[in-house]
């Protein structure tokens, strides 16, 4: 059976007999592993694809992905981005500084911006080179994260409190672009769209429900209608948001290391695939034997449930490769 077949089975509640599906978030780590740097990984889809395919081969991953950095859509909205050799790209200016800027913010054409087009081309190439045998995960910024990218975290959080009408308008514009970008990646061959909305872990359930929840639902529904699955990634502790998220029809929910997987199972229900959640620092710092034991324990606990083994968040660049291999070994049943 192909890896895509195994993933489809998992989605349908048929559990692979030989493994827990394994797919950590890999960006800076695989950029360096493949002999390049983060700047190249984030700016050249050919290298991003090459790094993903190398990791697919060497770590026997069950999925590949296009995640790179938060500023693809922000660039399409007009921000200047600086690439850092060994760091996350930087956004050099805030696109939204005033209420007028929100009103005037135009819907970008994701096919005309270099950075969004780079990811779309990456989707086409990954899909072509894996010949439809491996699930390809595309990536978009969630609406709240994108709003913060456009006007700054503090500024946007304050805007929600002081000028909710403008905050809603900005979020609406972010949703349109999220759907445009997701649709383009699905048409280019993605089977799953990851939606990163990290800032949500820092807001209370009321703010989430007032500003974000229905927008998440709209994007999820659009992705489903377009023929792909949804993987929701929110860094940090989202325990307090789980009750608000459990009716969103998320297919895969990334859970960071602070979230108890059993609690997430109880709140989200058996139909949601949980993905996680070994502490990335543990994966970086501990010995392969310790990592194997922790992953084996988690994998065994989750056997017979919809689960993907991963770290809680991105694999840290300085993680030894053998530690990642230990995770893979632990996810195999025999």
């Amino acid at each position: 059976m192909t890896k895509k077949g195994a993933f489809q089975d998992l989605c349908n509640g048929i559990f692979p007999g030989d493994r827990t599906i394994f797919r950590p978030i890999l960006m800076h780590f695989i950029a360096r592993y493949a002999g390049g740097n983060y700047a190249r990984f984030a700016s050249d889809y050919r290298f991003l694809v090459e790094a993903n395919l190398l990791a697919l081969e060497d770590f026997d991953l069950d999925m590949v992905g296009l995640i790179s950095d938060p500023y693809r859509e922000t660039s399409a909205f007009g921000a200047r981005i600086e690439f850092i050799p060994e760091g996350v790209p930087r956004c050099l200016d805030l696109v939204v500084k005033t209420k007028e800027d929100v009103r005037n913010l135009a819907r970008p054409d994701v096919f005309k911006c270099e950075r969004t087009m780079d990811r779309i081309r990456g989707a086409e190439l990954l899909s072509k080179l894996t010949r439809g045998n491996v699930p390809v995960i595309g990536w978009i910024e969630g609406p709240m994260a994108e709003a913060c990218d456009l006007c700054g975290i503090e500024q946007f959080l304050m805007m929600q409190m002081m000028d909710p009408g403008t905050a809603h308008l900005l979020l609406d514009k972010c949703v349109i672009t999220a759907k445009d970008f997701a649709g383009a990646q699905i048409n280019a061959g993605c089977d799953v769209i990851g939606m990163g909305d990290a800032i949500c872990s820092q807001i209370d359930p009321f703010t989430y429900e007032t500003f974000v929840k229905e927008r998440h639902r709209e994007i999820i529904s659009y992705i489903h209608t377009s023929g792909a699955k949804v993987k929701m990634h929110i860094c940090g502790d989202i325990t307090h948001l789980l009750p608000s998220m459990n009716d969103l029809e998320i297919d895969i929910l990334d859970i960071d290391w602070q979230v108890n997987p059993q609690h997430a199972y109880e709140i989200m229900g058996p139909d949601v695939i949980r993905c996680g959640n070994i502490d990335p620092r543990f994966v970086m710092d501990k010995s392969p034997e310790e990592i194997y034991s922790a992953c084996k324990l988690l994998s065994e606990k989750e056997k017979g449930r919809k689960f993907i083994l991963s770290a809680g968040c991105e694999i840290i660049v300085t993680t030894p490769a053998e530690n990642l291999m230990a995770m893979r070994r632990a996810s195999l049943y025999n």
Binding site: H28, E86, G87, V88, R90, I153, E154, L157, M158, Q160, M161, M162, Q202, I203, D204, T207, C235, G236, H240, P280, R281, M284, E314, I316, V317, T318
Partner: protein, 221 residues
Amino acid sequence: MEEILEKLAYCVEFGKINLASPYPPDMRGQDGADELTKKALEMGVPPTEVLNKGLVIGMGKVGVKFRENKVFVPQVLMSAKAMSFGMAHLKPFFNDGSVVRKGKIIIGTVEGDLHDIGKNLVAMMVEGSGWEVIDLGTDVNAGKFVAAVQANPGAVVCLSALLTTTMVNMEKIGKAVKEAVPGTIVAIGGAPVNQDFSNKIGMDVYAPDPQGLIDYLGNLN
């Protein structure tokens, strides 16, 4: 007198900045920390009491609620904003020495890291607890921290990082500070760090949240 200080603390706790602020919705049309601080001073309340029995009390409650996940970042930002409006009225008293701060911290996000939300929250809340805060901003290298400590002997240095790739710079900066000004206390905080990491790199304090740092600083006095 007690009543206005209680009201002031309440405004900070619930993020009521001033009369014009629409937040929180249930306090619309009421005075905020801005007007109440001004009124308290006009009534003759000693500035030290306005600070310690009004503003600091309100911010202290926010710190505890934040630690207990009863409020989140947006609410803390509103409280800090309310606090800063009140503090603006106290500035002349800080300048002439009639109100004395508990001490001084130097804070910054370490080299390579541009994230400032965590650092800003800590800065706002520590300031709200009565300390003077020197905020060096983001992407701050060892040299800038060292220069700031040399200019402010006795200040506690607080290093922030959000990324696993930049937390490693804390060790270099912390060591440079301690080498340049022996005896300087260095605290670290941020999503990727923990007590183990703090111990490993030889720092004095790991603060899991802003209130943790405030509690530690409180014990220094």
